[in-house]
Structure formats: C-alpha cells, structure tokens
C-alpha cells in the first residue's frame, strides 16, 4: 500500500489492526484452553503476553510512516482553533506580516522582472552591447560610425552587429497634421540581431542600408494606429518625414522600443551627415549577437586587439579609446540596479521588524501558556512534538500573511512602477510569475520560522515541576531577556530606516535651496524644428532660425527669447576639448568643456550672471573673429587668477585657430541640482549661433531648442508660441515643452522618489517599533503586577513604580539606539555612494532622528508605566 493510501485509509487500517490483534489473542486463548487452562485465566495471560494494547497500537501506527503528516494535520487544526479564539491577536499579526511580505514581494517582483528575467528576445544571453571607453569620458554606450564599421568587419566572435542612432527626429508633414516625431536610424539587420520580426511588411534590406539607398521607412505600431488608422494598406504608402518622402515598408510589433518611444525608423547608412565620417563623434549605441560557442571573454580579447589597431591607425581620434562588451541586459538596467537593491534592503528591514513584532506577540503568549505546555509534557508529549506544534502555528500565520502579502503585491506593483521617476526600464514587463510565488512562499515560511522559533524553543523541558508549581503570574528571567532583545532589535532597525530617511530628507532640503546658476522662474523651454524645406541651404537655414526666433519674441507676454542647443538641467551634452595654448597635448589629456551654442539673449532669458566682459551680440557673426564666453569654472582651470577677457583659447572643433574669450559668466548646474558636482564635465563655454559654420548648420538644426522668459505663467504661453512660430509654410513645430521649474524639479526626481519610499518605510518602522515596545512593556508589567503590589504595599509610590518601568524601557531603547546608530552610519555610507547629494557624515540629522525615535518609544512606554503606577496593592496581592 502506498504512503498516500496509508495516510488516507487511516480508519480502515486501524480497524484491521484491531482485528489482527484480536485474532492473536483469541487464538492464543484457544491454545491455552486446549492445554487445560481456565478460559478467563487464559485470556488474561494472552493479553499480558501481547503487552499494553494502546502502546502496541501506537507502535504499529508509527510503523506506517504517516505519523508526522497526521500530527501536522492535528497541529494545524489546533493552531486554527487557538488563532480563532483570539481574533485580535491574529488580525494584528496577519496585518503586520501581510504588509511586510507584501512590500518585500513588490520589490522582488520588480527586481525579478527587471534585473533577473532574461530579455524578451530569443536566446537573450547571446545579446551584447559594445561600449567605448575613453580616458576623459569614461565608459559610454556610444560608438563613432567609422569605428562601428571597422569593428563589424573584423569582429569574428559576433554573428551580427547592428547600430542605431539617437539623433534623427523630424517633422512629419504627410499624412496628417505636421508634428514632430521621434526617429531612429537603424542598421538593416537590427531586427535580425534582436531575433524578432516586424509586425507587418519587412525589415530593411541590406541594399537600402547604404548612402543613396531607396527612401524607405519602418513605422511604430503606435504611429500606424494614429496616422494610418491601423489599415492594412499602410505598407507602401507615402510618409513625408523631415521634408523627405519615404515609402513605408514595415511596422514594428506593439511595445517595441530601443530607448524610449520611437515613431519612425530609417536606414542608418542613408545618413550623409559629416558625423558619419568622423571618428571623434560618438553617437551610436551598438547591439550584437554572439556567434554560437563564442564567449564574452573571447569577444573582449578580440575587441582589445581591434581597439589598439585602431588607436595605432588613427592616433588623433582613437588614442586611449578601447571597446568593451557587456551583456545587453546589464546595459539596459544599469541605472536602476542599485536603487532596486537599496529598496529591497530597506523593505527587508521592515519585514524583519514585522517578524520581530509577531515573535514578541507569540512569545508573550507562549509564556502565558507555559503551564499548559508543562502539563502536556507531564502527560507524555515529547519536546520535539511541542516545538513542532508551536512552529505549525507560526507557519500557519506566516503563510496566511504571505498570501495576503501576495495580494498586496499583485495590486501594488503597477502603482509602484508608475511612480518610478523617468519610467522604469522594462517596467512594462513587470508581472507576477512562479519565481515571485516561490519567493513570497519562501519569505513567509522563513519569517514564520524566524518569529516562531524563539517561542517554540521555550517549550518547557527540564524544570518541568518548577513551572508547574510556579504561580500563573511569574515571569522567568529568560523570557524577559528575550523580550528585551526583540524590542532592542526593533529599535535598532527603526533607527537605520529613520536615519536613512532623515539623510535623504536633509539632502533634498539642501539640494532644493542650491542655486542652479540660473533663474528658473517664468522660463519656458521647448525643442524646436524649422520647416524641413529650409534645410537644404545653410544660409537659408540660418535665416529661418532667426525668423523663428523673431516670431517668438513678438508673442504677447514674451519678455525675451533665445535659441540654444543645450538647455540647463535637461539631458544634453556636447563636450568639446580645449587648451589654453596652441601646443595641444593628445586628445585624452586635454580639458573638456560643455559647449553651448546660443543666440545673444540667452543670458537674459536664463538669468545667468555676467561676471566680466560681455556676452555676444548681433555683431559677432560668421566672417568676424570667432568669440566665446566661458564660465568661471573654465576660467579658473584655464587662466587661474588672470583675467580671461581678451585671452585666446584653442578649441579645435570650433575653429582651426584660436578663439577669443570676450566674457565670463557664472557657472550653471547643467547636470542637475544634485548631479552637477559629480559630473565628468563641469567647465562650460558658449559660442554664438551666428558663427556656426555652414557645414554644421543642418546638424545643429536637429538640436535646437527655444527658451523664452515670460511675464505670465510660462506654460500658458505655449500654445500662443506654437501658433506664432508655425511660419509661412505652417510646418514648424515646438515639442517636449516644459518650464525650467519643472526641469529643476525633475533633476531631483530620483532623490524625491527615494525620499518618499524611505519616508514610508521609516514611518512604518516607527509605528512597528512603538507597537512593539508598547506591547512588550504592557505584557511585562502585567506579569509583574503582584511584584508591583508588594512594592507598593511596602511603601513605593506611584511615581517610583512608573520610574521603574520607564527606566527598564529606557535601558532597552538606549541599547537598541546605540546598535542602530552604528548600523545607520554604515547605511548612510551606502546611500551616499548611490544617491548623489546625500552626505553620510551628518551628526545633526542622525542625532535628531534617533532623538525622535527615543521620544516616540518612551511615549509608547508611558501608557503601560502609568497603568503600573495605578496598581491597587490590595487587589494585586489578592490576585494570586
């Protein structure tokens, strides 16, 4: 009979056992009677020979091997009964556990989907990215096009290598209203590298991916829906993108994204911009698929060789530039990894506190059940059996709590992902799966063991009769010590979370008062695109931009306006190398400045202070002496204490000869309020839009933004501006408009997001710690009522008793706070490393948060202390 059958046919087996033993006795009796014994005597002898019937049956049941399952079932029903008897306790324990496991599971769900699960492409582990590493920029996921071609042609361990470019937005004028769409230029084999196919139509042909190839385009699923109504005959239709008619050949699957939302894809090699031949222009992310059998290490070795060959061949651009290969998945989630683990750590601490809380609740109950348990031992229950019973109870609690937690996670993960600043990469892939289920189950069982073990191990053993003899209201030292450890641990955990939240809050406070170097009020910024028709001739392009600016300036409510390619605080970077003398060192040793191309009114619009000299005006134009304005950071680096105005700088990308410094302006925190201090490039220089050479005019047109200082709330100006700049052809657009105040706020989005979450965790921790200390003290003092009664009868006043209880709790709190403070300092260091703007060594914040917690915890212990001070000695003494 199988194990399952034995378990399920328990009753039948018992009956058969009964019958078998009965047969034995009857048969034996018959034999004895046949040998001349008296029947009654014989039956008695037969029974004695067989031994105690119940003991024998138990032994036989044990032999079945199903005993533990039967016990488990019995324990389970017993636990359910005891929990039902105390619904209040069960509810609090369940709620605490549900919150703890729920929050942890949400965090794990996100980590699982974003960091752990492979990318949703076939054979995702073969997908890699190639990075360039240079001496002064560090690592970045962008390659120069000629480098990409060389690598593609010589890298053997790669099956296929595809590149794409960020820069390629444009105005769509047909079909439908003119609007700016985000475009990407992609290699024809990009879809093949990813291992996916287009939803309709076909990918680009290799023959289209070359200069002068047929004008074709692939559009996104979203654009297909909005511009072509999702109709099947969209393939083959005309799409006028950036002034150029193209034929739609394919539609991407829904949800397909390279980096953010894209609408139009065009063949990469059709781009004829000068950057395609410039080894110094790194603009292209590269994705590849490893050949079968090739390893990352092999590829890396090969890339090193290619890198040094290129460096030898093109020393001007490629000195000190090497190439690195990374798994694609690692790249995509690079920026969120640390934040996610940080949050999982914080949530884990909340879970731990919840466990400790439930543990102390259970412990209190175990202690008050001590006599019951001792009685059970006296009646023959094994110690192991009692431990198992206690553990069953906590496992029941934890699994129920875990199920509730899973429910919280199921409903909570979407809002959490939506809250993520700048959108969580792979956020749309976040969902529950069996990994998450297994995790939640493991976490709840583990926490069940964690909080169940301490009470379970208290199951009475040696000093059985002492326990039985002791009064119901005595508390043994062991339990008091354990309770104190629990409370201390909770306080320590709460200190860590509170201090972390405090450090983040302090950073936030400090950062929001940091001077960004500009006046962010009443400024609107928007990306701009002029009529594609004007782009063919540089002089016409320049004139069109000035006309665009002029139209904007005449809108009512606009005080002044300027064009610029870099808007402070908005992602955007154009690093140019410079030197203060003509004998320039190799590329990797030169200084680098963030170069902004602007029209004369930029200072007035942005409110950037002019320190020395002048900013450019309409007289600085092409043909005149090339001029620049520098910020005080660059001035210090290049000219030390000398007055830079009138001096010369060498910036090879701006002019072959020197450029004249005509003014110095204040530093602008371009990389965000928090991030600017750590930015790799801090020096800034400005050069006039009017001096941009003809050859670059078209490229620059793709980067231009307009910034406007207004008299009215800036967002109200947007529609009027849009209407005004539309132009005679009606196809000039503004897009991605926002106010500078919004950008300043967004540059702190990560800090704010973490602050909110840590604030919530710290609040939870505070509440849990207060509940914990309240519960434990209330319990401990209620157990001490007779003792307090004696003290009071002997003359202790209510104040004495209150002081005694408060002293006891203060001792525990202080111990917890000290341990917590050292852990909090370590946690602060981690935060400082991961979140820019946080300073770990902030004794004021640490002290304030700890003081706050201590006061809250003392307040929580005040209630039980007062109750203790009001004990009536007479009734207390009579109680036991």
């Amino acid at each position: 009979m199988s194990w399952w059958k034995r378990l399920l046919r328990r009753r039948q087996m018992d009956e058969e056992l009964e019958k078998e033993l009965w047969f034995h006795i009857e048969q034996y009796t018959d034999d004895l009677v046949a040998n001349g014994h008296d029947r009654e005597q014989a039956r008695r002898q037969a029974r004695v020979a067989l031994g105690g019937p119940e003991q024998l049956k138990e032994d036989c049941r044990d032999a079945r091997g199903t005993r533990w399952a039967e016990d488990l079932w019995q324990d389970f029903r017993y636990s359910l009964r005891t929990l039902r008897q105390r619904p209040g306790f069960a509810a609090i324990a369940l709620l605490t556990l549900a919150l703890g496991t729920g929050a942890t599971t949400v965090m794990f769900t996100v980590i699982n989907s974003v960091l752990l699960k492979p990318l949703p492409y076939p054979q995702p582990d073969r997908l890699v990215t190639i990075w360039a590493k240079t001496g002064n920029f560090g690592e970045s996921w962008s390659l120069a096009y000629p480098d990409f071609i060389d690598i593609r042609n010589s890298l053997r361990s790669m099956q296929q290598l595809a590149g794409w470019s960020y820069n390629g937005g444009g105005t769509v004028t047909e079909p439908g209203e003119p609007a700016w769409l985000i475009g990407r230029e992609i290699s024809s084999n990009l879809f093949a590298v990813l291992g996916i196919s287009v939803e309709r139509g076909r990918p680009f042909l290799p023959d289209e991916d070359r200069p002068g190839g047929a004008p074709v385009a692939i559009i996104s699923h979203g654009l297909w829906m909005s511009r072509f109504g999702g109709s099947a005959d969209a393939i083959g239709q005309r799409l006028v993108f950036d002034g150029k008619p193209r034929t739609v050949v394919g539609i991407t699957p829904p949800g397909f994204q390279l980096a953010g939302e894209e609408d139009v894809f065009t063949p990469l090699a059709q781009d004829t911009a000068p950057r395609m031949n410039n080894r110094e222009a790194s603009f292209m992310p590269v994705l590849g698929r490893l050949r079968d059998g090739a390893t990352l290490a092999q590829t890396q070795t090969e890339l090193m060789g290619i890198g040094s060959n290129l460096a030898a061949q093109y020393p001007k651009s490629n000195t000190d530039r090497s190439f690195l290969v990374y798994p694609a998945q690692q790249q995509i989630v690079r920026n969120v990894r640390s934040t996610l683990w940080l949050l999982l750590g914080a949530v884990g601490m909340v879970l731990l506190m919840a466990c400790v809380n439930v543990a102390s609740l259970l412990l209190a109950r175990a202690v008050s059940r001590e006599r019951e348990l001792a009685l059970r031992v006296a009646l023959g229950a094994g110690r192991g059996r009692l431990v198992r019973q206690c553990l069953t109870e906590s496992a029941l609690l934890s699994v129920c709590g875990g199920c509730l937690g899973l429910l919280i996670a199921a409903f909570g993960m979407r809002p959490f992902v939506a809250l993520w600043p700048d959108g969580l990469p792979r956020g749309e892939e976040v969902r529950l799966d069996w990994h998450v289920l297994a995790f939640a189950l493991a976490v709840s069982l583990l926490s069940g063991v964690l909080f169940g073990l301490a009470p379970a191990l208290r199951a009475p053993a040696a000093d059985l009769e002492q326990t039985l003899r002791a009064g119901a209201r005595s508390v043994t030292g062991g339990s008091r010590r354990l309770h104190s450890i629990f409370v201390g641990a909770q306080i320590a955990l709460a200190v860590v979370l509170l201090v972390s939240a405090g450090l983040l809050g302090r950073a936030m406070l400090r950062l929001s008062t940091v001077d960004p170097g500009i006046d962010v009020h009443n400024v609107l910024e928007a990306r701009a695109a002029i009529s594609p028709a004007t782009l063919s001739d540089p002089a016409g392009t320049r004139a069109a931009w000035l006309d665009f600016l002029d139209r904007a300036k005449h809108v009512p409510g606009v005080r002044t306006a300027a064009l610029t390619d870099i808007v402070p605080l908005r992602a955007g970077i154009n690093g140019l190398d410079y030197w203060a003398s003509p004998d320039m060192p190799p590329l990797n040793r030169r200084y680098i400045a963030l170069a902004t191309c602007a029209t004369p009114d930029l200072l007035n619009v942005m409110g950037i202070p002019l320190r020395r000299g002048r900013f450019f005006d309409e007289h600085d134009r092409l043909g005149g002496e090339p001029v620049i304005v520098i910020d005080d950071s660059l001035a210090r680096r290049a000219f030390k204490d000398a007055d830079p105005v009138g001096k010369e700088l060498w910036v090879p990308d701006l002019a072959p000869g020197p450029v004249r410094v005509i003014g110095v302006v204040g530093h602008v925190r371009n990389f965000g309020l928090a991030g600017d201090d750590e930015a790799p490039i801090r020096d800034e220089l400005y050069y006039p839009f009017a001096q941009v050479p003809d050859g670059l005019m078209r490229l620059f047109s793709g980067f231009m933004s307009i910034v406007v200082r207004t008299n009215i709330p800036p967002m109200n100006e947007r529609d009027a501006l849009q209407k005004a700049v539309r132009g005679s052809t009606g196809d000039q657009v503004l897009y991605e408009a926002s106010t500078m105040e919004q950008l300043a706020g967004a540059s702190l989005a990560r800090q704010r997001f973490l602050l909110v979450l840590f604030g919530v965790f710290a609040g939870l921790a505070l509440v849990l710690a207060c509940i914990g200390i309240y519960g434990v003290l209330a319990y401990l003092t209620s157990q001490r009522v007779p003792e307090i009664g004696v003290r009071m009868a002997l003359g202790a006043s209510g104040t004495n008793v209150m002081g005694m209880v408060l002293r006891q709790s203060l001792g525990i709190i202080a111990a917890g706070a000290v341990i917590g403070a050292s852990a909090a300092i370590a946690a602060g260091r981690v935060l400082q490393r991961l979140v820019s703007g946080v300073h770990a060594g902030d004794p004021l914040t640490i002290g304030a948060m700890i003081a706050f917690l201590v006061i809250a915890a003392l307040a929580a212990s005040f209630v039980p202390a007062r109750r203790a001070s009001r004990v009536d000695p007479m009734s207390a003494l009579r109680q036991d």
Binding site: L17, E20, F23, V48, A49, G51, D59, R64
Partner: protein
C-alpha cells in the same frame, strides 16, 4: 511488563522474513514458530512482533491478505514479496559473513590462549 528482546538489533526482521518465506502465515503463527524454533534461547516479546510486521509490510518486503483459518476465524496472512526474498537473501548472506568472522575471531583467541 514484557521483558525486552534479547535479539541483536535488526535480527528480528531477518527471523520474520525467514519464517514467512516458508509459506503464507499469520502473526500468531509467526509468534509460535519463533518461540518453538528458537527454543528457550531467544525470547521474542509478542508486543514487538506486530510493529515489525507492519514495518516490513510498508517497506514492501511482505504482502498481506485476509483469509479464513482452519478454525474459521479471519486472519491476516503474510507472504514474502519478490523484494522481500531479495532482502532475505542479502540479509542472510551478511549475517553469515558476520557470524563467520566472529567465530573465526573466537577460535583465534582460543588458539592463542592454548
């Protein structure tokens, strides 16, 4: 109280398997045969017989079915399964090896003394 078995650990199982190997038999008959065969040398308490039988049954070494005895009562008859036969052979062999070795050692000791 029933006196504890003087059998070496694990040998009760071997004896039961051997007896059952002779043909289907019920618990009482096993008890009788154990007593009779071993004479007064080995005392097997009847109380430890049934748990052992059930353990062997659950391990699949014995199979049982209910049959009427010659006295008309229904009894649970045990018989050896294929697995049980294999186990019996293996156990017997290992028992023989053990006793041979012990006998050898004992002789050796005598020889040395002489």
């Amino acid at each position: 109280m029933v006196p504890k078995s003087d059998l070496p650990q694990g040998t009760l199982d071997l004896l039961i398997l051997k007896i059952v190997a002779l043909g289907p038999v019920h618990g009482y008959a096993i008890a009788l045969r154990l007593q009779r065969v071993s004479g007064d040398v080995v005392q097997v308490p009847q109380g430890s017989l049934y748990p052992a039988l059930h353990r062997l049954e659950n391990r699949g070494l014995l199979a049982a079915e209910w049959k009427a005895t010659e006295t008309g009562r229904e009894a649970k008859f045990y018989r050896l399964t294929e697995k049980g036969r294999g186990e019996l052979e293996a156990e017997t062999a290992s028992w023989k090896r053990l006793t041979d070795a012990i006998t050898l050692i004992l002789r050796l000791a005598e020889g040395e003394a002489a």
